[in-house]
Subunit: 447 residues, 2 copies
Amino acid sequence: MSKKRVAIIGAGPSGLAQLRAFEAAKKQGLEVPEVVCFEKQSNWGGMWNFSWRTGVGKYGEPAHGSMYKYLWSNGPKECLEFSDYSFDEHFKKPISSYPPRPVLFDYIQGRIKKNNVRDYIRFNTTVRWINYNEDTKKFKIVLDNLKIDKTYSEEFDYLVVASGHFSTPNMPYFTGIEEFTGQVMHAHDFRGADPYKDQNLLIIGSSYSAEDIGVQCHKHGAKSVTLSYRSKPIGVNWPEGITEVPLLKYFKGDTAFFKDGTSQKFDAVIMCTGYQHKFPFLPDELRLKTKNNLYPDHLYKGIFFNDTPNLIYLGMQDQYYTFNMFDAQAWVARDFIMDRYKIPTKAERRLDINKWLVENERLKSSHDHVDFQTAYIKELLALSDYPGFDVDKVAEMFKEWLKDKDENILTYRDKTFKSVVTGTMAETHHTEWMDELDDSKERYLFE
Amino acid sequence: MSKKRVAIIGAGPSGLAQLRAFEAAKKQGLEVPEVVCFEKQSNWGGMWNFSWRTGVGKYGEPAHGSMYKYLWSNGPKECLEFSDYSFDEHFKKPISSYPPRPVLFDYIQGRIKKNNVRDYIRFNTTVRWINYNEDTKKFKIVLDNLKIDKTYSEEFDYLVVASGHFSTPNMPYFTGIEEFTGQVMHAHDFRGADPYKDQNLLIIGSSYSAEDIGVQCHKHGAKSVTLSYRSKPIGVNWPEGITEVPLLKYFKGDTAFFKDGTSQKFDAVIMCTGYQHKFPFLPDELRLKTKNNLYPDHLYKGIFFNDTPNLIYLGMQDQYYTFNMFDAQAWVARDFIMDRYKIPTKAERRLDINKWLVENERLKSSHDHVDFQTAYIKELLALSDYPGFDVDKVAEMFKEWLKDKDENILTYRDKTFKSVVTGTMAETHHTEWMDELDDSKERYLFE
Ligand SMILES: Cc1cc2nc3c(=O)[nH]c(=O)nc-3n(C[C@H](O)[C@H](O)[C@H](O)COP(=O)(O)OP(=O)(O)OC[C@H]3O[C@@H](n4cnc5c(N)ncnc54)[C@H](O)[C@@H]3O)c2cc1C
Ligand SMILES: Cc1cc2nc3c(=O)[nH]c(=O)nc-3n(C[C@H](O)[C@H](O)[C@H](O)COP(=O)(O)OP(=O)(O)OC[C@H]3O[C@@H](n4cnc5c(N)ncnc54)[C@H](O)[C@@H]3O)c2cc1C
Ligand SMILES: NC(=O)c1ccc[n+]([C@@H]2O[C@H](COP(=O)([O-])OP(=O)(O)OC[C@H]3O[C@@H](n4cnc5c(N)ncnc54)[C@H](OP(=O)(O)O)[C@@H]3O)[C@@H](O)[C@H]2O)c1
Ligand SMILES: NC(=O)c1ccc[n+]([C@@H]2O[C@H](COP(=O)([O-])OP(=O)(O)OC[C@H]3O[C@@H](n4cnc5c(N)ncnc54)[C@H](OP(=O)(O)O)[C@@H]3O)[C@@H](O)[C@H]2O)c1
């Protein structure tokens, strides 16, 4: 009998977790299926693979990257640590709790370079379209080799969609925006604060992007930052130079008018209004349709598409937990594919999904959100041999992090936490975050 | 026997020309096939349908529009006039030779509103993927209804690709660009000069976009505009404030270093480096692969895909002629589809294509280019009943236009030309172009 074939879409943290999961099984001497990972970019790392390009990439595909210069982890690294590859193992010394993007990118690569998985990845290859054959239970995948401009197709028994969901902007319309005289862009196209020096900047949104882009522009010399919220303000203790106002109503020329009757002139607008889950390569009957939330419907254990469980989605949740959640998911997916983990009937799966959906509806505070995702991680960890870690301690760290941000949004990244994987206490960084304008790995690791 | 089915991709000037061609036949009492046009935007007009959005559209599809505020026709309208719907018929009075975008958009709509073709167009519908069945000779088209997020597929006997080719940026890399401190964008994302007021602007490229964006930014108050060319400078008589320099070598911080050893600090960079022909919805064997040029290979009469002639491409050439060329093409395509025009064997078609390719290779000056496309238009006009017009006169106008631009790039849009369709002499516009900052239809038609 020929080997089963598994296709993975995307070589970001989730897709790489899936590759790593199979490698781990192989190292245990198990026979693993044939795995191929398709990545439209020329390198791995997903979001963490920074690109200066906006709009479209070199080959005209929608640019994936939403990260920017001077981006630092916005949560403690101890909350995302791989439990099978610690920060200590990678950096050989304690580092601070909030590293910049290049340092986390290095860490992601470190684990994956230890294994020979690069050969499984076809880079510069976009997954263009997928057909599922109900009879043969196979996925026929149309691939587009961007470098040589050539399409072809292949068949697979399992499909793992790890294409991310913070890449396709959600961009609301506001009256007069087409006549606004300054630059208008979405956070997806933001590449760093430099162009906003000495400018009056308007940011729409009140979540992570709004907070971080606002603070970064403040740090790098914007004249003023105004955050405009729809549902509720971020409400932390803002420094002078950053203010929150209710939602924008309309623009007139260079002036924005807000719901509370106030108005102000701006030089530029950045819409931090979130992202759409977008799967242009999937037909209707396989397509996950959801908003950004902690438990998208239709996914059993948060990963198995209920109508067609040999279709697996990784990392589709809103994320407190990131790398370690993707790992926990990928290990379960692997065990299902390798017939080491069985799922119940469709109706039973539906009941389980519903249980989580009901629970999700009840959540009120940020603490509730953390507890909810913590419970989910615990459930996943129980299902595979992914090395367990003290999830409750991580949940505590998340709550401390929320408090730290509330108290001082400019200094929370100077705090340190203790690893649940190695017990190592993080180092205080050599420079306070507000004074550190260089985000390179060299500067970060400089002693 | 059931009617043949024709699919048109795109409701820009080319796709609308195709719809209009079938309507014209219907009005003559001929039986026409069933025609469906798919348009991913929510309105028709293609490039002329202005959108403030950049990057992706409302539903996360790559934004099509490359036009911007204050865009005026860059050639005399007398060179693009529909020969079956004159400017006189539409505006009921003479207008100037270089109208702004909203006025030309209005003109495009005028002809099409006279016919009930809107019903044939499925808006908010992206053509996602196409399979061609060699045996049945049918195209199976996968469609994505963006508004209700639903995919489906339908079969067609003919496929007309009218999706444009000035939408997917060609964005070269320059050393240091990822560290350049100002805004970097492609012309595709430029939406008007306002944000560049009092700025030092660097433009890469030496063709229409470079010229027009440079001049617009100068007109609207940029401090300086520097155009950097690869092959040769535009070389017109530039006003003070606009200069041309050889190609950029690299960036360092906010400074650009050029091939001639000079360097300068800039606030922003706009890459006017052209576009890619991109057909993500087509498999390899149907995909046109070409650079922007006056006679793309593989297209018989510039439209029939030689390997599969029931696949027709409209408007894929570089364009001196625009609306009237699309018309001439669409009429021939219609007659082929309706069996009123026969094409020779594949080998004979190849010979004909080669003849044009050889000719194209020989062209040297802009005048040669104009003459080449003029000869092509003449050939097309001889093949259908699209109303003939004096193409040689149009060629003369193009040459005058080239001279006008050479002499004074800031005043060439104040010149007037005589219609070859109606003989009407254009009016001088009420305001000189350099003083006219309002591009609205209302202001333009104000007396
Ligand atoms: C601005 C920003 C900042 C963030 N900061 C943090 C942070 O500080 N800490 C943290 O833990 N998390 C952060 N995140 C969350 C981040 O999304 C996750 O850390 C992680 O990158 C998600 O991994 P993923 O593999 O699921 O998706 P991604 O990292 O998005 O990777 C998906 C991959 O799929 C590829 N792909 C997509 N479509 C196709 C296709 N059709 N064919 C082939 N390949 C395709 C993409 O090119 C990409 O490489 C941030 C996110 C954003 C947007
Ligand atoms: C900045 C700029 C300025 C220009 N100025 C002039 C000018 O002054 N005078 C002039 O004569 N010409 C000008 N042009 C040239 C212009 O391209 C043509 O006038 C004309 O718009 C080409 O028509 P088209 O229908 O071939 O393509 P487009 O106008 O580009 O229309 C293509 C249509 O196809 C749709 N489409 C694409 N992909 C899909 C899909 N997968 N599914 C469904 N629909 C799809 C698009 O949404 C679009 O509506 C300009 C071009 C640019 C870029
Ligand atoms: N490392 C870092 O520093 C960093 C920086 C940026 C982002 N990130 C990560 O990136 C991911 C995405 O975060 P995000 O903030 O971009 O998205 P998000 O968390 O989904 O938040 C979307 C925001 O947009 C608002 N919004 C949506 N539609 C709107 C409308 N029509 N009008 C006004 N406001 C609207 C929402 O307001 P409502 O509350 O009213 O719905 C919400 O505030 C997260 O995982 C985050 O951790 C990390
Ligand atoms: N109505 C208007 O005012 C208006 C305004 C803008 C555009 N348009 C239309 O838009 C269409 C597209 O015009 P366009 O100017 O965008 O594209 P284009 O005519 O194809 O020109 C592309 C330009 O980019 C340069 N280029 C390409 N790759 C480069 C690289 N790696 N480095 C440096 N330079 C590079 C080319 O230089 P080389 O010469 O060296 O190849 C050329 O100058 C045309 O139909 C035009 O009429 C109209």
